[in-house]
């Protein structure tokens, strides 16, 4: 039990309450990059 609690404390993510916040942020970042690259492709073609 003690081990589990220590493990959970060590695993708290920074900035967000849950790790899912980071996962969505990363997926959003990828989406932004793809949109930006798509715009660049069209703009420079």
């Amino acid at each position: 039990m003690m081990h589990k609690l220590t493990d959970d404390n060590m695993d708290k993510p920074p900035l967000f309450r849950h790790w899912s916040g980071w996962y969505w942020l990363l997926i959003g970042w990828l989406a932004v990059l793809i949109l930006l690259f798509y715009w660049l492709t069209i703009y420079l073609s």
Binding site: D7, I34, F37
Partner: protein, 573 residues
Amino acid sequence: MRPLDWVVLCITLLGILAYGVYKSYGQRNMEAYFLDNRSMPWYIILLSIMGTQASAITFLSAPGQAYSDGMRFVQYYFGLPLAMVVLCITFVPIFHRLKVYTAYEFLEQRFDLKTRSLTAILFLIQRGLSTGISIYAPAIILSSLLGWNIYWTNIFMGGLLIIYTVAGGARAVAHTQKLQLAIIFVGMFLAGWIVVHLMPRGVSFKDALHVAGKLGKMNIIETKINITSKSFWQDKYNIWSGLIGGFFLALSYFGTDQSQVGRYLTAKSIRESRLGLLMNGFVKVPMQFAILLIGALIFSFYQFYHSPVFFNAAAVKEVENSSYKPQLTQLTARYDSIGKIKKTAVQQLVTAFHQQNQTDIDADSYRLRQLQDSSQSVRQRVKQMIHHVDPLADTDDTNYIFLHFVLDYLPEGLVGLLIAIIFLAAWGSTAAALNSLASASVIDVYKRAMVKSASDRHYFLASKWFTLFWGLFSIVIAQFANKLGSLIQAVNILGSLFYGSILGVFLVAFYFKKIRGTATFWSALLAECFVIFIYWLNIISFLWLNVIGCVLVIFFAWVLQQFLPVAKQPELA
């Protein structure tokens, strides 16, 4: 190379070597040697993961790839951030809670010894051979462009890093990778800045991008989809193969290849591992974009200045010394005359950009594309000539383009730094590979099957000996690589053929609790036969093979398990 270049090169390499040896002190046991007592913060994990993935060929090849084929190569990395998320959710917590040294150790706990042995041995064969090839690949480019002896270049490329990797294990590997990446980023930034700075007066960064775009090099995203067309499945780089195939490839590489798993197992907690992997997901795509952009800018640069008809000068020299010399002279003269016309056309195009005259932009772009096609056809004929003279010669000069530009146009000192970067990138990925080969050898083979109960001191020393063995083995492979011919490509393909099936084994382990070892083991072998058969048919790009291998293992394992008994198994995590 001029004297200042040699000074910069020697100081950089010796500095890294000394830093690696300095970081080696204080290790007394196997856990410290392979995992640095699980003490690393997330930013070291990040840099170590990046340093392991980015080999010398990454920095040599990516700009050349953009020059030849455009920026679309960046799509190859789109699946990576998604794979980081899955790794953080599934792989990282399980590996950390089980306190494994290697990814394959987990498979015995979940399945059985034969599944663990199969994956570990496949890793040792594939990674052992590919590490030798990854030493040879940049060494042959440097020796070809600088006239260095290939055997000594191999020894310097693969030999010096053995000193700190054997002495310091995972800690020395991670800390030197940190410094190596810092130097690499500075050097690449300076190279990019100088390309823009060297453009003719009046040609801005934006103009250079427009020129590259009009000639089809800014094809960053390709969205066309036609699943009934063979060419769609054979196309290596589009958004679909990048997102789906790239996801499976990244998941296999970061989740099941010990050279990467060994990096984030050194983290002091699950949190630090997760942050390191997630940050890798944030920075990898922009980093690759920036490296490719240098190649697209070099392409624009060579529209204004003379470029060689073939960037591998050693291959051209062989043609010059053959009976094909008159034809080569003729083709080179033709290529140069097209280059002169192109120079005028591209300057007119830039003027049209400045005047924002769309009619002129369209007309000049069309003319420039035609000239580009003409020069490409001349290049193609020269490549055929090189092949006639030496059928084993590499007719792809993509890997030579960036270094050719560096040697011809970068100022004294910076050339030395860029050459040092090639060495450092090779050292970073090779050191991690040697460390992981040693950990899989000791943990999954030596300790598991040969000497089962010896002291920690014994295994610690064995780890050092195995690191030394794999280092020497890689150099020997590199020394013989020029005699391997097409086998080099076979070694590179070998990895991508097995990755999907190995990933399938891990995904069954994580997500299909009722499937046991025997079903998984035979499914992996069966799926691998299918993958090799599909590869032999040559109907699909290698990125899709990972998807197929992985899905087939899961499917076969599920079907086979219906006919096999389900033995009781303890909970793992």
